[in-house]
């Protein structure tokens, strides 16, 4: 072995581990073993991302790669610059508009429906839509949480219309917006359930039963007049169309109805954008409805069907929130590995230190177990509430804990530099709160399995 080779080998060998040329190293041992033995144990240096991607059905693998390419090319370079709040009413920065235009042209804003209506590949239709969304969201989140939310909150806004199965509504609201997006003229949707007086109460039945709705629809000739306020609505300041849930006048949450509101309707205004901890490229907006007239044909899925539609939508959207967690955990892990190559304490790379090696292994294991949970839930055409909720709260906890561990391993370096891990933490923290706090999601698991839990005689339970 010449000098250069020796040096390269040394760089590849971590302190405490054998060089790959050592006869006792697993690589050498397997290389020298009988083929029957070596075929029983894998020791290739393929990335685990590749391994997972290749385990997917072909159209999904291709989709995952495309999402990754788009995220790397278009989201990652903008991540740092766009990580700042935008007051309501200010024009969208040119870079964001360009991103939305490109995303629209590339088909990322029209992927709730298969071709020829939308841009989901026809070959992917044997697999659930949620799985496709999870794959996309993980890739986007790993590049930038805020930009991911900017693009994906749009899908959430459109989801109740698509999930309602109301063909007329799809034809009236979704397809024209799809055409605009494909032409490179962004037309965004937003999803509005949360009200200042009711966040968790809009996400779980027990609270909803006792909640007095804040946004109310009054019947008038030809339609409805909406009054009240919604808050924390992602993309609410730039959305052209919003799925707004409101109760009928004089009734409770059981009368919740989904209304499609256009941003140019008189009486509608985005009042303010919140100053958030993270995911700043996407705004969280307070919306005011001041006697907004909404015609009858803007009711989606029928009167008093809103609560069901909301719960069904949440079931579909909580899995992608879990996938966001995967994206953040992955990015924190990748950054930890990158930095622990470069950083040294004393005369050692961080990566040479046992606690760092073990920390990295722990983050990897929790990331992969969370991915298993998310993908398992996403493989059902009709996601179960318990599975969606479990995936959401577990993967979001994993994400936050991965960022915390990364900070612990890297020290203040994790919070500085490109600020990647600090940003991941700030972004990931939101996944423990929205789409129902993790506490509400834990209770959602119990709600779903209520009859099983109250009949423990059944066996096996799980």
């Amino acid at each position: 072995m010449n000098m250069a080779q020796t040096q390269a080998l040394r760089a590849r060998t971590l302190t405490g581990l054998l060089p790959e040329t050592d006869p006792l190293s697993i690589r050498q041992a397997l290389a020298n073993a009988h083929p029957g033995v070596s075929s029983l144990c894998r020791y290739d240096q393929e990335s685990l991302w590749e391994l997972d991607t290749r385990s997917l059905p072909k159209p999904l693998a291709q989709w995952r790669r495309q999402a990754r390419d788009f995220a790397e090319e278009r989201l990652r370079p903008l991540a740092r610059e766009m990580d700042q709040a935008r007051p309501a009413g200010t024009p969208m920065p040119a870079e964001l508009r360009a991103l939305l235009t490109d995303a629209g042209r590339a088909g990322w804003l029209t992927d709730l429906l298969p071709r020829p209506f939308g841009t989901l590949p026809l070959t992917s239709t044997p697999w659930p839509l949620t799985w496709m969304q999870c794959l996309k969201v993980e890739e986007f989140a790993s590049a930038c949480g805020g930009l991911m939310l900017l693009l994906c909150a749009h899908g959430l806004g459109m989801a109740p219309i698509v999930l309602s199965g109301d063909v007329n509504a799809i034809r009236r609201f979704v397809l024209p917006a799809y055409r605009q997006n494909r032409r490179g003229q962004p037309h965004l949707f937003a999803y509005a359930i949360t009200e200042p007086g009711g966040g968790s109460d809009a996400e779980e039945g027990h609270g909803a039963r006792q909640y007095r709705p804040g946004v109310v629809a009054r019947k008038v000739a030809g339609g409805w007049r909406l009054n009240g306020r919604k808050c924390f609505i992602s993309g609410g300041d730039i959305a052209d169309t919003l799925s707004v849930f409101a109760a009928l006048e004089g009734e409770g949450m059981e009368s919740w109805t989904c209304f499609v509101v256009r941003s140019d309707m008189s009486g509608f205004s985005p009042v303010r954008n919140e100053l958030k901890m993270g995911m700043k490229a996407s705004s969280a907006t307070e919306l005011e409805f001041d006697d907004v007239f909404v015609p009858n044909h803007h009711v989606v899925g029928g009167l008093r069907r809103g609560w069901t539609l909301n719960r069904v939508t949440l079931n579909y959207s909580r899995l992608p929130v879990g996938a966001m967690g995967l994206g953040f955990a992955r990015r924190a892990l990748e950054e930890t590995i990158r930095q622990s190559h470069e950083l040294r304490t004393g005369n050692q790379r961080l990566l040479d230190q046992q606690p760092v090696q073990m920390g990295i292994a722990r983050i990897m294991a929790s990331l992969r177990s969370a991915r298993g949970l998310v993908w398992q839930g996403a493989q059902r055409f009709a996601p179960r509430q318990s599975e969606a909720a479990m995936a959401k709260f577990h993967a979001s906890d994993v994400a936050v804990s991965a960022c915390e561990q990364a900070m612990e391993l890297l020290g203040p370096h994790a919070l500085s530099g490109e600020g990647v891990i600090g940003k991941c933490f700030r972004d990931a923290r939101l996944t423990q709160i929205f789409e129902g706090t993790n506490q509400i999601n834990q209770l959602g698991v119990v709600e779903d399995l209520q009859s099983i839990l109250t009949d423990p005689g059944q066996s096996p339970l799980f």
Binding site: Q210, M277, A414
Partner: protein
């Protein structure tokens, strides 16, 4: 013994008033983050109060148990309103112990700033293990020159936005020394965001080797360890006070916000979050109290152990406080999210919990 968090006697009215009025004001306007100018003004007020004055028993001027306790309580009183400023004052006061230059007590610009720095050859937490002559954990390649590298590399100074003169430990040809660098003499500094609340940044001195440096004092292992111990003790106190503040906010909110048919404080889920906060505070308070009493020679390792155990708990506690708020906790308005961020920073600045635990174990094994 009175738990450390409740003893207000030792904090002067003047400091309490300063904390509540000068600092409390900016909490009311969350859209405006205080910047370097505000920090400068605050430090000026602290100077006027004699916080750095040795005669007036300024911060960290003495290290007997009673003074230590007073320092801790003063830092906590300030931290309840602004942990970033408390950290600021804490490290400036420690710098003055190393370099009690005449006149520094008068002008803000003359106050040195202490940074333990983070360099490839001389990371702060490893210094605690440093034995003269052994050089055991210091990269010999860096012994021959200033440890701050010429390249951006991994050198990182954590300091507030407001600093003019920096006091750093350095390994020189004359051995370990405190050196002073003027900001104006560093031709290129990259300012990094630490993603911590206002006034705090990370600085990467690109060309520090060309900067003019003044040797201030030799650095002895014992003196250095003692200083680290005080730094760590103060850091833990600042974290505790910020978490206590978060707990107050969370309890008040849990008592007001209604969801699920009652105030949220009645829900078991929220009670568990509050319990997480409570646990962190109740385990930290007596430890701090104890740390105020330990002999100077033991402070560094006892503080290291305490930081290793307690910062993660405090981080978890403040995170739980944020969760109590639901969506609004994610916004700047409540002030809790900034406490989450600064606790992350306090936890890993000057040695992470993992490093602290290792340090303590190494010391035990060596003993």
């Amino acid at each position: 013994m009175i738990p450390i968090g409740q003893d207000e006697q030792l904090v002067t009215d003047q400091i309490r008033q300063f904390a509540r009025h000068s600092l409390g004001r900016y909490r009311e306007t969350p859209e405006i983050e205080p910047g370097a100018d505000d920090a400068g003004q605050w430090i000026r007020e602290c100077l006027a109060m004699g916080l750095f004055d040795p005669e007036a028993g300024g911060l960290w001027q003495d290290d007997d148990p009673a003074s230590r306790r007073q320092n801790v309580l003063t830092l906590m009183a300030i931290s309840e309103q602004s942990p970033a400023l408390a950290l600021h004052l804490h490290l400036q006061a420690l710098a003055l112990r190393v370099m009690p230059a005449p006149g520094t007590g008068k002008q803000v610009e003359r106050l040195p700033w202490l940074s333990f720095g983070l360099g490839p050859g001389f990371p702060a937490h490893q210094l605690a293990n440093w034995q003269p002559g052994s050089g055991a954990r210091i990269n010999p390649a860096h012994l021959s020159d200033w440890w701050l590298p010429a390249t951006a590399g991994s050198a990182l100074l954590c300091a507030p936005d407001y600093w003019e003169r920096l006091l750093v430990p350095a390994m020189t040809r004359k051995g370990a020394q405190w050196i002073l660098i003027r900001r104006a003499d560093i031709s290129q500094i990259i300012r990094d965001s630490l993603q911590a609340p206002a006034c705090w940044s990370a600085w990467r001195p690109v060309s520090i080797q060309q900067a003019k440096r003044r040797l201030i004092a030799p650095l002895s292992p014992d003196g250095y360890r003692n200083l680290l111990g005080q730094a760590w003790l103060g850091q833990l106190a600042i974290a505790l006070a910020s978490v206590r503040h978060a707990a107050d906010l969370a309890c008040t909110y849990a008592d007001q916000r209604r969801q699920g048919g009652s105030v949220i404080g009645k829900h078991g889920a929220v009670q568990l979050l509050l319990a997480e906060l409570d646990r962190a505070i109740h385990l930290t308070e007596p430890t701090l109290e104890k740390l105020c009493q330990v002999p100077a020679s033991e402070l560094w390792w006892q503080a290291a152990r305490a930081r290793g155990d307690l910062h993660p708990l405090l981080c978890r506690g403040v995170n739980a406080a944020m969760q109590v708020f639901g969506g609004i906790g994610y916004m700047r308005d409540t002030g809790v999210e900034s406490l989450v961020r600064i606790n992350q920073m306090l936890s890993c600045l000057h040695g992470t919990p993992m490093t602290m635990q290792q340090l303590h174990q190494q010391r035990r094994l060596a003993a």
